[in-house]
Amino acid sequence: MSDQENYMLKINNLRTSFFTPVGEVKALNNVTFAMKEGDVLGIVGESGSGKSVTSYSLLGLLAYPGKIVGGTIRFNGHEIEKKTEAEMRKIRGDEVSIIFQDPMTSLNPVYTVGNQIVEVIRLHTDKDAAAAQARAKELLELVGINEAEKRLKQYPHELSGGMRQRVMIAIALACEPKLLIADEPTTALDVTIQAQILELMIELKNKLGMSIIMITHDLGIVSNMCEKIAVMYAGKILEYGTVDEIFYTPRHEYTKGLLRSIPNLMDREHKKLVPIEGTPVDMLKPPKGCPFAPRCESCMRICLEHMPEVVHFSDTHYSACWLNQKDEWTKESVEA
């Protein structure tokens, strides 16, 4: 690919494992994707699919006993997988930052909001105390908090959940990061606040021009916010494509299953939602073939034996499913 240099983030065959007392849990298996500047990527998948581990690997935030065991992460000119913890500290919060799921517990209860914003500004810029304070006020106004001056002096427990998430966003944006990772930023908020926060994020993205990785299990959020979607399952990206490609021409049975399980307000009759039967795979003993095979309605013999190759349908759309390679596997099995 000639435009390789244009990618702001390029993750190649990333493998991350957790070395637990009962064995190695392969949380990420050859995750590969790339993002250009200003891209908004949604990573969807159920709990334990490796969405968060992907972003933590990128941030160098993997908690013990997690470790990157293979692959490369190129971000903004850095070779992340080779960085030491001290080098990562300079990147984290400055070039890439993250918003977490639960704003109620993500701010330190014993320090004022202002203190927690100013802290990150002073860490990564050479602004003095007064300038950092002014910048903090500016940030609060940017994220739509009124009476910013007063809020700076307040403690987290004096603010509502939505307001705290805005503060988290202000902290994340404090040093104008290239990439903002939003790890289920609205899961803990009620629906009206959710909408406000998402709107704010789109607005800020347009204003500041950063890229966003949106981690969620809510396909509705993804369809509204993102340009591209990565569907993850058992530490693998099973399908990747633009929003239209994923929603209108899903090429993986798991994606289809996810789409079937979304309620639709426009349905005339009361249709029952279709769940995906079964439970997620045991990551200690991942299956030999496609990880989704045991739950897949169209599972074939080969699915249980071999992991399918990635097949490209367009420049942006690819998936790993044997159904897309029918010709090949029939040929193979005939030969065998």
């Binding site: 500290r89 977490f100 802290e119 860490l123």
Partner: protein, 305 residues
């Protein structure tokens, strides 16, 4: 805040009053009296002594007299240490105990907090295991064993430190160490578990995501949240160092309040029992109010009402 403190003072006075009443009647329930010694004094002499100190009157009258004197700030006269008033005994002995106890509390905090934090950060690793072993040792070994060991090793064998009295700074080393060992171990354990809890909190992850150094992470973000249980322990700790110093004071021959306190009970020195008990109760009640105020200063979520 002002209103809260007034309320706490009123509550404290009530507590102290209850302590006075209970102590007064309980100590009179113990068989024996101040003038029963191995060398029996004649019944006549005993009666005379009882009369002199007002011990011949019915209990309720004694109780009333005691309270009346107490409101004047008079704790009475010792019946065993002839001619010494309780106020005098406390004012002369307490500074000794306070220096010893204060140094011990300080050492317990200065050593215990970092020790517990280090253990938490290195959870499951060698440093953690070593600290746990030391802490368990500190909690399990009785102070008289420790005192004797310290004396034998550092006083007699190595001849590094003096083994009795409080003449110089050097004199403080062994008794302070002996007295501080248990609270140090206790604080280390408290700190370890609360630090582990705090380190797992979301806001620590946020702090990490900001790119803060481990030092700032621990000392700014974690410590202030993790230290609350230790602050709570300060009240009981004060009581321990002042009364628990009895053994240490005895072994190292230190003229402190701890030995007076314990000695007064075995000697049935009623006014001294009352005086030391009231004094310690007041100290602990005051300490608890201070702890509450410290709480408010550390954690803004806490409302004092």
């Amino acid at each position: 805040m002002g209103k809260y403190i007034l309320k706490r003072i009123a509550m404290g006075l009530t507590t102290i009053f209850i302590v006075i009443t209970l102590t007064f009647f309980l100590m009179n329930l113990i068989p024996g009296g101040p003038f029963m010694a191995e060398k029996a004094i004649s019944a006549q002499a005993q009666a005379a002594m009882n009369e002199k100190y007002g011990l011949d009157k019915p209990l309720p009258v004694q109780y009333k007299n005691y309270l009346v004197n107490l409101t004047k700030g008079d704790l009475g006269v010792s019946v065993k240490q002839r001619g010494r008033d309780i106020n005098g005994i406390i004012t002369s002995k307490f500074p000794v105990s306070a220096r010893l106890g204060g140094a011990s509390i300080l050492m317990a905090l200065i050593v215990g907090i970092p020790l517990g934090s280090i253990a938490a950060i290195n959870r499951g690793k060698l440093a953690d295991n070593i600290i746990i072993v030391i802490a368990t040792f500190g909690i399990a070994v009785p102070s008289f064993v420790l005192c004797t060991l310290l004396m034998y090793i550092f006083g007699v064998k190595l001849n590094l430190f003096p083994t009795y009295g409080l003449g110089s700074l050097k004199h403080y080393v062994l008794p302070v160490f002996a007295l501080a060992f248990y609270p140090t171990a206790y604080i280390a354990r408290l700190m370890r578990s609360s630090m582990l809890d705090v380190l797992g909190q979301d806001y620590i992850r946020t702090a990490k995501a900001k790119g803060l150094s481990t030092f700032v992470l621990l000392f700014k973000h974690a410590l202030r949240n993790a230290i609350l249980p230790v602050v709570t322990y300060l009240g009981p700790l004060l009581a321990y160092t002042l009364t628990g110093s009895f053994v240490v004071e005895k072994i190292f021959t230190i003229p402190g309040l701890g030995s007076e306190f314990i000695g007064s009970i075995s000697g049935r020195d009623y006014p001294l029992i009352m005086g030391t008990t009231i004094f310690l109760a007041t100290l602990i009640v005051t300490m608890n109010v201070l702890v509450d105020i410290a709480y408010k200063l550390i954690d803004p979520r806490i409302k004092l009402q």
